[in-house]
């Protein structure tokens, strides 16, 4: 699956849906899209990685950088991943302790609105 990032609004959340592989080749485009959203003043960001086939440390670094930027302005960032492989990698690197992970977009956005 080719790398792509699409952005859509879900209530007060801006949801970035990513597909394909996130590595050194595609991470710059991923970072650019994320920064564009954050720079536009969006404070509540969901990144849907359910369609991502592969992510490496470069991609994880982009997620960490985005989390830092969003939280520095009092915002919130959440990850969605239905594939167990990505979730395992997040757990393995223990990034699940600093990044909130959900198994669906509705779970990521509903909880905050409760």
């Amino acid at each position: 699956m080719d790398f792509s990032v699409t952005v859509a609004s879900h209530g007060r959340w801006e949801v970035l849906t990513v597909t394909g592989e996130i590595d050194m080749a595609t991470a710059p485009r991923f970072r650019q899209r994320l920064l564009a959203v954050i720079s536009a003043g969006v404070q509540n960001v969901v990144i849907d990685l359910s369609g991502v086939d592969f992510i490496d440390s470069t991609g994880l670094g982009v997620l960490m950088g985005a989390a830092k930027r969003v939280r520095s302005t009092g915002g919130d960032i959440r990850l969605v991943m239905s594939g167990s492989r990505l979730a395992e990698l997040i757990e393995l690197t223990r990034l699940d302790r600093v990044l909130d992970v959900f198994d669906s977009i509705s779970a990521a956005t509903e909880e905050s609105e409760a």
Partner: protein, 148 residues
């Protein structure tokens, strides 16, 4: 798989070739049909991390040379050797990252590559010097799997 096989590849030191290297890992791993999908996926990440580091090393050193990749399959191991001609580094002097529950952890967007190589491979050997770095990653094949 009684006959050891060794294959040498060269890739341009450019990020767009990473997916090709990962495809090589999958093809090589599939020669052992007992290797689980999860193990192959783990090893794919490890080899991709080593290759990423090699590409970055060439960029830092302004070298236009290819990255050397050797795939070696023996009776009980699948090995990938990734060799670059960068400036080298000292693996023991890599910065220790803050603990994951420390908020300052998010200040470090880099530094996970070698950690992932170590936890996703069965054996890792790194030789580095001023003329470059060679990383050897290996997983044990069927009968010696350390599946988690």
């Amino acid at each position: 798989m009684s006959d050891p096989a060794s294959m040498d590849f060269e890739i341009p030191a450019r990020p767009e070739y990473l997916s090709l290297v990962r495809a090589l890992v999958v093809e090589a791993a599939e020669m052992d049909t007992n290797l689980s999908h999860e193990r192959v996926e783990d090893f794919k990440v490890a080899v991709s991390e080593a290759t990423t580091n090699a590409i970055e090393a060439h960029a830092r050193a302004c070298r236009d040379e290819s990255i050397q990749i050797r795939c070696k399959i023996t009776e009980d191991r699948l090995e990938f050797h990734i060799t670059d001609r960068g400036f080298g580094f000292y693996p023991d002097q890599i910065q220790v990252l803050p603990e994951p529950d420390d908020p300052s952890r998010l200040n470090f967007e880099r530094g996970l590559g070698i950690y992932l190589m170590r936890v996703l491979s069965d054996d890792v050997e790194i030789k580095s010097g001023p003329d470059g770095t060679q990383v050897c990653l290996a997983i044990h094949l069927s009968g010696n799997n350390s599946d988690s």
